[in-house]
């Protein structure tokens, strides 16, 4: 879709029109920031919201300019909505935390616009534990580790903060003792340079 078509689609879908004045002011500040990060969390996935919030806290502590938005699974399956988010992140970075289907859509739409997914983590949840499998174009092999769900995503948030800061955080040392096949839920987080 060329830019003219894209704008037309957004106007027709109400994605742009729905922006509130206060939110627009925040957008303007965000867009003016350098090295900014847009964090998109899927609102109907509790762990996605938790990780989104944790990322926000870690980035705030690290002084990384960022903005958090949430969207439902239905919205994340709509081209116009995802493109609006990518447009918001244009020239910066976007971190997504969402289910597998939404992640594929988001990453493919980003790739079509020249965006590169530089870090991607699959999260598999079992009884009381979450297994993370982190892959990156700069890593020879994926990094896998597990931690209690109660750990509140602190380590994975740190990995993203490290990647944003230009430093790949060292591989976590906790051995992979992840939940068995068929763990009840699965999520993906990723970092895209737009």
């Amino acid at each position: 879709m060329d830019r003219r078509n894209f704008i037309g689609t957004l106007l027709a879908s109400g994605v742009l029109g729905a922006t509130l004045p206060a939110a627009r002011a925040a957008d303007d500040l965000f867009l003016a920031g350098a090295n900014r990060v847009l964090i998109v969390g899927q609102s109907d996935q509790p762990y996605a919201l938790e990780l989104t919030a944790q990322l926000g806290r870690v980035f705030t502590a690290a002084g990384i300019p960022h903005m958090q938005v949430v969207a439902g699974g239905t919205e994340l399956a709509q081209v116009a909505h995802v493109i609006a988010l990518l447009e918001k992140a244009r020239g910066g970075r976007v971190i997504g935390v969402m289910d597998d289907a939404a992640a594929v859509i988001f990453q493919e739409l980003a790739a079509a616009r020249g965006g590169a997914c530089v870090l991607s983590t699959h999260h598999r949840f079992g009884a009381g534990a979450v297994r993370h499998c982190c892959t990156s174009a700069t890593l020879e092999a994926g990094i896998v580790w597990s931690e209690p769900i109660s750990a509140q995503a602190g380590r994975i948030a740190g990995v993203y903060a490290g990647a944003i800061g230009g430093r790949q955080r060292a591989a976590p040392t906790v051995p992979a003792t992840g939940p068995a096949d068929g763990g009840p839920a699965s999520l993906v987080s990723f970092l895209i340079n737009t």
Binding site: M1, D2, N5, G8, T9, G73, A77, Q78, V79, D99, D100, A101, A102, A103, V104, I105, Q107, E108, L109, A110, A111, A112, G115, A116, C117, V118, H122, R124, R131, C133, T135, A137, T138, G142, V144, A180, D181, G182, G183, P184, A185, S186, L187, V188, N193
Partner: protein, 515 residues
């Protein structure tokens, strides 16, 4: 040598590669020659059960014109460097945008994204490789042109040229996409530009309306092959019918597939039902409803039949769910509707009309696809197992009930042996059916990934022994699939390759063709 370079084409020295890259930058500009591994990441994202390394590109280039492609090919011939052309690169489950062999340069044609012409009288279009279905849909909507096209399930992000070149299918009466293409422009390995059919003749205005031209018809050899780079494609569009009546018929038992196919085949061949009928299994419908697998099965291995039955009951999903439509005037559709009702009643099926389907995500995306409205509803499949692993196994079957049941049972047994669910559907052509199975697995789990590879391998060879070939394949299995079609066909393909691409620079290995 670029110190950061990790991947090179097979047999190419780093110094030679660097020289070639330098020349490519002169042609395309630095910004359109990608070497940095982070920028190459989208071209190495795969869903297949093999390591990413196996399909890692050495670089990617993004030409914007036929002339640039011609100039690029001269450089690649000089250095004998292989290139892997993609259009939009969304062949998910079949290899995505990654090259068929490690080290090939990806030629990404997404910048060539012009809708060159739409003729509303003749109902034709001429498009470039980077055009997406969504873009074409928006174009037709903006101009209020009452024209439909056929698109595959991931349509909003995929494109018509790439889908046709891979011989993909859709769900309208124009669903056999290669059949409804008309005229190609192809850049050959020696940089010559061939226009097929009537396009070969200077000043012809019949390129998009008459397929055959004079002499041998060449279009077919540029699909599922590596004999040229298709840079333009003509396609036929369908006039929007005055009355469109999509419907679903649900059946309660897996064994019902026999009577469904035998009852629908005559209607399809006689064109009472003009579109590609889809017969989707419960587990294809469930993730798109959406149903969570974990609510019914949490242990290792394949989901049980009892759990599948419970899903059917809990979510009002059939064991088989038939999707089709009537396209015509109110009068013709009224008459044909009586036939549909009689067939459903005679076979124990329950009809769901569009009116009755309101609020169902799974039905709505199907009904949209049957009128060529792009959407992403089917991506829900990726949530079924989670973990980003998916490969399509797609054997062809006769449109006979007994054949379909045999194929379904064979596939289900093999999948179950490796701990995978049967997530399948049949797409009825006219006399054939594409049996499409999504082998879903957790790619972050090494054990599952190895099992998925072994499972696909067993599916392929077991089906081949029974005489069932696949109509399309992922790049990791291209060589093995090609081998199932026998030595003579392969020998002819190799001779063609030698004649058209003697330096073997165009996607060697694609569909098993190489020198």
């Amino acid at each position: 040598m670029n110190a950061k370079r990790k991947t090179l084409p097979k047999g190419i020295a780093a110094g030679e590669f660097d020289k070639a890259i330098k020349e490519l930058k002169k042609i395309l500009g630095n910004e359109n020659v990608l070497e940095d591994e982070l920028r190459l990441a989208p071209y190495n994202k795969i869903m297949m059960p093999v390591p990413n390394d196996q399909h890692a590109p050495s670089a990617a280039i993004t030409p914007a014109s036929v002339e640039e492609i011609q100039a690029v090919l001269k450089v690649l011939n000089k250095y004998k460097i292989p290139v892997y052309p993609i259009s939009t690169g969304k062949n998910l489950g079949y290899g995505s945008a990654a090259p068929v062999q490690r080290g090939q340069i990806v030629m990404d044609l997404r910048r060539m994204n012009k809708i060159i012409e739409v003729d509303p009288d003749l109902c034709t279009a001429l498009v470039e490789p980077g055009v997406t279905y969504q873009q074409l849909y928006d174009y037709l909507q903006e101009r209020k042109l009452p024209l439909w096209f056929s698109c595959p399930a991931p349509s909003a992000i995929a494109g018509p040229l790439g889908n046709m070149v891979d011989r993909g299918v859709g769900y309208t009466p124009y669903g056999e996409h290669f059949l409804f293409s008309c005229g190609m422009e192809v850049v050959l390995a020696n940089s010559e530009v061939l226009r097929t059919g009537m396009g070969a003749m200077p000043n012809s205005n019949t390129w998009q309306v008459f397929k055959w031209g004079y002499g041998p018809t060449l279009d077919g050899i540029f699909t599922q092959s590596n004999y040229g780079i298709v840079t333009k494609m003509g396609m036929w569009l369908m006039p929007a019918p005055p009355d469109f009546r999509p419907f679903c018929i649900q059946y309660p038992n897996e064994a019902d597939i026999t009577k469904i196919v035998d009852a629908l085949r005559p209607l399809r061949i006689a064109m009472v039902i003009p579109n590609a009928v889809v017969i989707a299994h419960t587990l294809w419908e469930a993730p798109c409803t959406p149903v969570k697998r974990a609510d019914y099965h949490t242990g290792p291995g394949a989901i049980s039949d009892a759990a599948v039955s419970k899903i059917q009951k809990d979510h009002n999903i059939g064991a088989w769910n038939v999707y089709a439509g009537l396209y015509g005037t109110k009068e013709t559709n009224d008459a044909n509707w009586k036939i549909i009702e009689a067939v459903a009643a005679g076979t124990g099926g329950k009809i769901i009309t569009e009116e009755q389907s309101k609020g169902s995500q799974a039905l709505q995306y199907r009904f949209d696809l049957m009128k060529g409205k792009p959407n992403l509803g089917e991506f829900g499949l990726y949530n079924w197992r989670g973990g980003g692993g998916s490969i399509w196994f797609a054997p062809v079957s006769q449109a006979k009930g007994s054949e379909t049941l045999k194929q379904m049972k064979t596939a289900k047994d093999i999948l179950g042996k490796y701990g995978f669910d049967y997530v399948g559907e049949f797409i009825v052509g006219w006399r054939d059916m594409h049996h499409v199975i999504d082998l879903l697995f957790d790619r972050s789990d090494d054990d599952q990934t190895k099992k998925a590879y072994a499972c696909y391998d067993e599916l392929l060879h077991t089906f081949a022994k029974e005489g069932y070939g696949v109509y399309r394949s992922n790049t990791a299995f291209a060589e093995k699939v090609a081998a199932t079609y026998g030595p003579v066909k392969r020998s002819v393909e190799k001779k063609l390759k030698k004649a058209l691409d003697p330096n073997n620079i165009l996607a060697p290995g694609r569909c098993g063709i190489s020198l």
